[in-house]
Amino acid sequence: MNPFVFHTPTRVYFGENSASSCGDFLRELGATKVLMVADAFLEKSGALAPLIDSIKESTGLAPILFTDVPSDSDVDCVNKATVIARTSGCNALVAVGGGSVLDTAKVINICLTFGGEVLDYQGLNIIERKLLPLIAVPTTAGTGAEVSFVAMVKDHGESKKLMFGSRFLAPDVAILDPLMIVSLPAKLTAATGIDAVTHDIECYVASGTYSVFTDSLCLESLRLLFEFLPQATIDGDNLEARGATLVASCMAGVAFTNSGVGITHALAHAVGAKYATHHGMTNAVFLPHGMRFNFESVYPRYARIARFLDLAAEASNSINGNTISSSDDRALAHLLLNKVEALLRQLKLPLNLRELGVPELTDENLAELVDLAGADPAIMFNPREASSEDLTQLLKRAY
């Protein structure tokens, strides 16, 4: 067995209406004044009401609400919220929203806890002690930001993403309330869900960093996602399906934050940075290409996933009883690839960059994307090294 390290510092609390327990956790964590960072849409829709009521009950004070978080959150937003939190005397945060909101809250928490400039904390493992209490309530099921040790915000002035990574960034509590995601539109349900599928698959084959802990999380998470993501997408009010995707996404989050992702994420980050495409949808485009690229290096691992999901039995049913040997790793790995592609079609996700709205890739644009992907931290976790030529070919194929 390879050496590994596995942390999961976040307490995960799941259930319908669990958001209304937020105040109990805050009391336990010693919070007296709370900054709530949330999506503006959630405030307008009234979805924050149970959380606000719960916080009022526990602290005796309404939280300071900060909803000015752009979809591509940035340093200015972090600085603005930090000033508000500091002048209001906040000593805890609650983040309610998608990945961008949760990441923003994590970075605000760094600045609120330690003071100084955002840029002082950019990097990996710089933060070496506990931050102020943070409770995360995800309203999408995909990013895993409610449990992950990383956060990214944009520095618009420099046109680049800043990365912060430390196990102390993980929220203290993740509240997974299916009622908080019922209003998520079908398209975003599918796209964010595929982000979680991508986390699972890339983490499961990450270069020497996966472990039996992350394996078990990835496998069960994939089982839940293959079964329930289509249902949650078609019928947003199906709370069982919503809950299952929320839990699966969280499991994938715990897994990937301990083991990393890979080339699909590196390419998606590059295209997202240049063309502002949706992260989940961009992952959807690259996932089959990334899996094919890694196939020869990791097909026995893909086959393990296929065995766990019993894809051979599923395939034999659909191909008139022709069986696939359980010892044929290549055939089983292909079944996983087919299963992923079938899921993408079923979810009606974009299948290429053109469908995502990416303009024709000139040589200059390709070179820029290759540089971005090649320098993305995700790529070092990929099980197969990718040259600039490999990345160029993958981008062309995905177009």
């Binding site: 990097g123 493992n125 680049k160 990450a206 960093t209 320098a375 090294e385």
Partner: protein, 137 residues
């Protein structure tokens, strides 16, 4: 047993290694094109080395205190640095385990990893030249 007996030995070895890298035309060119200033902070024994590629023409290596502001700073035990140059460190795992701390735009530093891989081949000779009594296998 520590790899380096003291700071002087650590500084000598790292300076020799980076001088060898500087003399490798292809590797040096790739590093210079990054225009980065990287400071390595070592502990057990303590040490510091700054590699300045900012002018894109000449790599300037400084040991100990340096008044240049680094773009990226890397912090690690000296033994981790030694294992790294032997090609024995799984960098992703070391980052996850917290054995390597990176301050600044980590992607810029990580992008240089493929470029410096040929230096693994230079390190055993540097070790031998400096008479370190350690296994290099």
């Amino acid at each position: 047993m520590a790899v380096f007996t003291d700071t002087d030995e650590l500084h000598r070895v790292m300076t020799d290694l980076w001088t060898a890298i500087k003399n490798e035309k292809e590797m040096a060119a790739q590093l210079l094109s990054s225009r980065l200033i990287v400071t390595f902070h070592y502990r057990e024994p303590d040490g510091r080395l700054t590699v300045d590629c900012s002018d894109g023409k000449e790599m300037v290596i400084t040991v100990g205190d340096c008044n240049k502001k680094p773009v990226v700073e890397m912090f690690m035990k000296s033994s981790v640095a030694h294992d790294f140059w032997l090609g024995k460190v799984n960098v992703p795992l070391a980052l996850i385990q917290g054995k390597i701390v990176s301050k600044g735009p980590v992607n810029k530093a990580l992008a240089l990893l493929p470029a410096i891989k040929p230096a693994y081949g230079l390190y055993p000779a540097v070790i031998e030249k400096n008479g370190l009594k350690v296994s290099i296998t």
